[in-house]
Symmetry: D2
Subunit: 345 residues, 4 copies
């Protein structure tokens, strides 16, 4: 059985694991105040061209989203997100549990449109009952999105502009950030992207780490007393160096991009193979998640030897499925998958 269900099916990239093994017996202070975390933070700051940014390391994505948003918002404020945004759908109400409404804007392609944010904010402040409604307090986007699409520079700039207009921080969830950056759809450097965000994460879990998200906070006000809130939300790891060590490794010798490129290149092989066999896609994703539409019989046959997610059933009996590639996926595995998929008549 070869699984393409997700990009967190295996352990860590060998170079990351090696960093943990090599330092295992050494002693270092706890709670992220060790040299490995410091070095990793320095490398991330250099990498994204944000020398003054604060960098925190957290274990998981829901945790980091919840913590950042809790730190950023006052009680009457909500986080604006796409209706398909991770915080809106797949975090078991973590944001609401932290007291905040997720204010959704419609989205077909997983992205938040700047115009929709503008409309939502204008409608809010226009209303005679403004104070009876949740105030937009932050814009949350994910890049790539939950369905693999990637923002363009123009889109990010438009979001920055609308955020400035309404006084909102822009927070980018980069759980798979590397995949966005190396994708054919990306027309910006990480520095250009960073400069447009108030805060963003650099995802490790889905890009070669055992676990870990680096949170980069560029706007000083958002970072105020952040470590208290980190601790309060259960996000402060005792052996914090495990995060520093992993990100130090990922940020060495371009490993982060190397892994991202590996994931995306194999996903493109898969995409092209499916296209050439006549399959349509639910969404055009240039990153490591692919969402082809498979008829029932094809799906059933595949299931015998391959793992994948059934994303959505369509009216005609076919289904959108999701294939993910990871740092550990091999060209041979992708070829085997393609070999098992017959051309669509």
């Amino acid at each position: 059985m070869i699984r393409f269900n997700s990009d967190y099916l295996e352990g860590a990239h060998p170079a990351v694991l090696e960093a943990l093994i090599r330092t295992n017996a050494l002693q270092s202070p706890g709670y992220g105040e060790d040299d490995y975390c410091r070095e990793a933070a320095d490398r991330i700051r250099a990498w994204c061209g944000a020398p003054d940014a604060a960098v925190h390391f957290l274990v998981g994505g829901t945790q980091v989203n919840r913590t950042l948003i809790a730190a950023a918002l006052r009680p009457h404020q909500g986080a604006v997100a796409a209706v398909s945004g991770h915080i809106a759908v797949h975090e078991s109400g973590a944001i609401e549990n932290a007291g905040h409404k997720v204010l959704t804007v419609p989205s077909g392609n997983g992205k938040v449109d700047a115009g929709d944010v503008d409309t939502l904010c204008a409608a809010h402040y226009d209303d005679e009952s403004t104070e009876h409604m949740v105030q937009p307090g932050l814009v949350y986007i994910s890049n790539p999105t939950e369905i693999g699409t990637v923002y363009t520079l123009a889109e990010l700039r438009a979001l920055r502009q609308v955020c400035d207009k309404w006084g909102l921080p822009l927070y980018l969830d980069g759980a798979r950030l590397g995949c966005a950056l190396v994708s054919e759809a990306c027309d910006y450097t990480v520095s250009e992207m960073a400069a447009l965000c108030d805060a963003f994460t650099v995802g490790g879990t889905k890009l070669g780490a055992l676990f870990g998200e680096a949170l980069v906070i560029r706007t000083t006000a958002l970072n105020r007393d952040f470590r208290y809130i980190l601790k309060q939300n259960g996000g402060m790891l005792a052996k914090g160096r495990l995060l520093g060590l992993q990100f130090r490794a990922l940020m060495s010798d371009g490993l982060y991009e190397t892994i991202a490129r590996h994931e995306v290149e194999l996903a493109m092989v898969l995409r092209d193979g499916l296209r050439s066999r006549g399959y349509a896609f639910w969404v055009d994703s240039p990153t490591n998640q692919q969402f082809p539409i498979l008829p029932e019989p094809v799906r059933n046959r595949l299931r015998e030897a391959f793992g994948f997610e059934c994303w959505q059933k369509l009216a005609d009996g076919s289904s959108v499925v999701r294939f993910c590639t990871s740092w550990a996926t091999s060209k041979e595995q992708v070829d085997a998958l393609l070999d098992a998929i017959p051309p669509l008549r």
Copy 2:
């Protein structure tokens, strides 16, 4: 510099690390639904004689305390804890952030006294303004406590009795559980202890794991929909198997007790050495944390070559300090420390 600051200064016990290395390239489902977690849960159930208990794996202690308490309490209820309890003091208000007051009872030795719980509950229900006050909803204890002391069987039974009397679940935070169980002060088996608790944790972070707390929930009602609340609190690890793998290793061939015994035995060497040199202790701890009282000059000299925590300054200028042993501490290190401590004249 040899550090005794805490028991989370190093990585994982070699056998635990080995388990991660060996399986690194294998694929398994995410979010704790893999075979390693299943096996680890089975072994924990067998180990503590609770065949019907639910077992969940979380990354850290604040997270597990917050999540269990959030799952157990209704909004108007609070968690009863010792004034020195971890949830009362050192979790940055995580319990309050989850909406619940920590109702403290006085404690000199870190333990919650059953009589004090009874008094607190009686006072609550006796009051004419009962509904204006936070209702006791759960009793939280740690074993060993934050200052290293260990409950006796009689004390646990008394707590069970008072909990039954007032209808309260008893939750035991076992961040260093192994150390309690192997200590000279422990007059019960883990099964006996488990049978007295509604829920308890088996701490991994401080006993040989990279990270991880296993949460054992014996009372079905507390486990209802628990995984939703786990996810909501950011406690569901994507590569959940990392937790399963580590606990499977710790629960193999008595490794958990072996590590605990190692830690406690070295702590006893340290204790006895200090005693024989004439030093007094702030508290009599039979576990891996030792709290001797050191005069200023001794402390200052030691600082040059050894790391330790300054716990509390005393009126006479001396200080309570904390030395911790871990899975990685060696007899040589303890001897070196003792060699550096002069007899108290």
Copy 3:
């Protein structure tokens, strides 16, 4: 200036005010534990045919919704509501502040459709990521709805059925309940309605009281320790008898229905007058809120002598406006308003 902006522009119905005046100097215990509250609760129980129900008195609507929902839900659960539901739109995120997501279903007419609840629940439990999503925990409806429409018996029965199917309490916000009950669209008695709900409110503020909502809880589990949660949410009035006195008066000699009938009858005069002048309505409301569509010039002229809310601007430049009648509205005022509205050419 005659105002039709809302139904809370004036004080209390004379009979209600009289009850407060008459008893002003008398002494009674605080916090709702007085005889007036007891009698009012008895009358409400008799009135709605729920002899075993608990009855609580709160000051306002947001408060009662927030408190009931906080008492009913566990942390991972959300309240299902129409996208236009008061808790979803106009309570400044009170439900989210209490930790819970509002799960919205689409609604054109302000009502929650049983089929939509069924679909939402089925989708939730069908999903492989169930635990990553907010669990439906309660159904919230308002009757009449925020836009004046009234549930039919068939609709309420269907909701009851779907609630039973999925184990959800059904909570009805009756801020203007009297208006629903006396409307031409109502094909049930209050007892029939009460028997289908787990909890509901009997609104006083908009039906002749100075303030006050009576909360009727039929399902014992929802009432457990309710007064703690009432106090915690700031909903326990020190001079609680003020609520008891008002509801005792409203529940005497059919006053509640008399007031409701007065409001609705005048609203029907207004509706018919507008209809006969050729105006269309945004929604067909059989209760005391009317939503006609007025062209700009008509609206501007009216503004000189009448108060009303501008509800929504339409693409053609006309607007939906809202006229409300209250216990204090007179036939003369409605006639004056109609006289000022020219027939639509």
Copy 4:
């Protein structure tokens, strides 16, 4: 039966009630945006010499404390209060439900001592685990305190100083503020007091109103978006004018002080009468709550004709009881009470 149980046993002072009656049929906008509220706010600003302060009107004390504190604190912050403070003891965990710990300082006389606040803050920032503990975020005091004592100017200045030192807002709960201001123990004007606070309340419920607390916010930052948070916490009254009308009346012709003086003078008669009969007091209260210590037989005899609260049982069988006077208490009632109390042998 004459009741001295509390100061909220009767309705409103006749002049307050009259204001409600006189305006009952008039129309005014909802939610506190009416002229009565505006005028009342103006009078309060003039009264306390704070021309730039914001003034909000809320129904009750728990509500106003919860709302102000929720508006003032970030998630990791707590409110410092006396161990006997209302928010620490008698609000059913409202502050914790809003996410914040109440950090208590010891207090024998109900007051918060500036030195204790300083010590608490110093200890917090001194600790190596600062970020693991709740950060002091605001100081809450009540004046008079829950047990009737009154701050001196020197005490308030010392608190102001320590608040400035640590950057904390000082919030004064004035549920019975009038009684403090007219008491023999008060050595400041309301303006002097106001100038030392960032926010404070002027209690109406216990000083002649049916209900209502005016919240005065002097510090602009605390007032930012306050009305959203007011609404979110269920504190925005639909017929908000009821609050404006009452406070406009209380702030006319010195009525607030007149009522306060009435309450306190009768309490002093009671105090002096008890003293002259040889009774001791649990605390020396110069305001409208008196806490004499009564032997069992006296208490039992009194119960036949008088209502009062049993505050605390003492070891010798006697009890601390509480007698309250209100706007409605008469000299005759106090005399009758004193007549029923025999001299203590």
